[in-house]
Symmetry: none
């Protein structure tokens, strides 16, 4: 009945802790029964292990197991709940486009946060971001380097905007960028709420080797005031459900492909 360890030797507590954290990083969550079976110990023991780790702030206890600790708080948390399943699907699709060793830019926003979560456990990435929450989350991952683009913080986005951030973007060589957006307009353009945001995304679309807009389906057909210049340089947009056919056609005629996650 020995698992991977030698016969008659039990796993030491720190070994279990490591394994718990390792699985957490890999999968985002772990189950108690699953671990109890793996280590051949009782569920209480695993529960006690998790309690210790939770007290040290290394994970979040939930019914049946544990999940990664969420550093996020009110404002953003609420928004990130909306269409959480869709955003997770987008995140997975986006993560598939990322290979180990890449330099990845993550824009601010709840959808890009979902991408960050989907990248949990990946090795050797370099992450550039303007989002405080994303920087915080990713810097807690092992083997991930994080560059925070500085600048004035927009409280509603909890991310750096403004001239300093624009400036800093130019200094990086980005393999792949995931950008948010305010809306996908009926005529197949990605648009934004703010001047700064539009400018920032425009630059990223032009600078990165490949850029993708991540847009959940609630943004289809909405109207926001600012066009994102040169958005058509993006390699594609990643969505959680197919947009209306007319929109897809209008968009793909300009260049970007539509990728539907699931």
């Amino acid at each position: 009945m020995s698992d991977s360890q030698s016969s008659s030797a039990r796993a030491l507590a720190p070994r279990r802790h490591d394994e718990i954290l390792r699985r957490l990083a890999a999968d985002g969550s772990v189950g108690i029964t699953e671990l109890a079976n793996f280590f051949d110990v009782s569920r209480e023991t695993i529960r006690r292990d998790m309690k210790h780790l939770a007290e040290r702030g290394q994970l979040d206890l939930v019914h049946g197991g544990a999940t990664l600790f969420e550093a996020t708080e009110p404002a953003l948390t609420e928004r990130s709940q909306e269409n959480a399943a869709g955003k997770a699907a987008i995140g997975r699709a986006a993560a598939n486009l990322v290979e180990d060793g890449m330099v990845v830019f993550l824009d601010s926003g709840t959808t890009t946060l979902a991408v960050a979560h989907a990248l949990t456990g990946r090795q050797n990435l370099t992450i550039c971001t303007t989002s405080l929450v994303i920087a915080l989350h990713m810097c807690r991952q092992p083997h991930v380097r994080v560059h925070m683009l500085g600048g004035e913080i927009d409280p509603s986005e909890e991310a750096a905007v403004g001239i300093d951030a624009l400036d800093a973007i130019g200094r990086f060589r980005i393999d792949v960028a995931f950008l948010g957006g305010g809306a996908l307009s009926p005529d197949g353009e990605v648009t934004d709420f703010t001047r700064n945001g539009a400018e920032q995304r425009s630059r990223m679309a032009a600078t990165a080797a490949r850029a993708y807009f991540v847009l959940d389906s609630s943004k289809f057909g909405r109207l926001t005031p600012l066009r994102i210049q040169r958005f058509e340089l993006a390699a594609g947009i990643i969505v959680d459900a197919p947009p209306p056919a007319a929109m897809v056609e209008a968009l793909e005629r300009k260049g970007p492909k539509v990728i539907v996650g699931e």
Copy 2:
């Protein structure tokens, strides 16, 4: 020396030490009972072996055996609990030095985080910081502008370090800066753990109109490797308990005043 006694020649201590370290390197952990059986010696003997190795810093003792050094350093959330009362006192004293409308720099660290908390509710501040957590907290306050200094994120500090951050410091006109530090040395100098940290703090001490080091009492008399150059340009140090008289004298002779919060 090696007179072989019985047919079952026992392993000598150095031989055991080697095997312990070898297994550690291979598996990440070893159990005491397991080794006692393997060498056919008592568990006490193995324990004594491990104790020696632990004193030499070659392994970490844990219940039931030993592991490689714990990868999990105390999380920030845990560190911020240590001496929480003292840090809160420092925070209040620091907040008293801040007037509405000022431009305030907040360094990374748990003590400066306490300062940030003490500034909650203040109006019209402009906050500059390298710390992700402080930026996140302050940008949620109304009537506070936040500038995040960008750069590579040091995961253990969850704050920006490195050339970009150093660079950005120069662009701001700071009214008052609150800086962390690794220790207050016996001869009244503020010292630091890392080269980058020391450099960053040195620059801030020289740049800000007024700079204060915030140091809780656990840091008195400790020794860390790096002097913070020009730390004596700081206006003072803020502590939660009076340091030894000799330290105070040595420090104030160089310039900075000692402020004790309560």
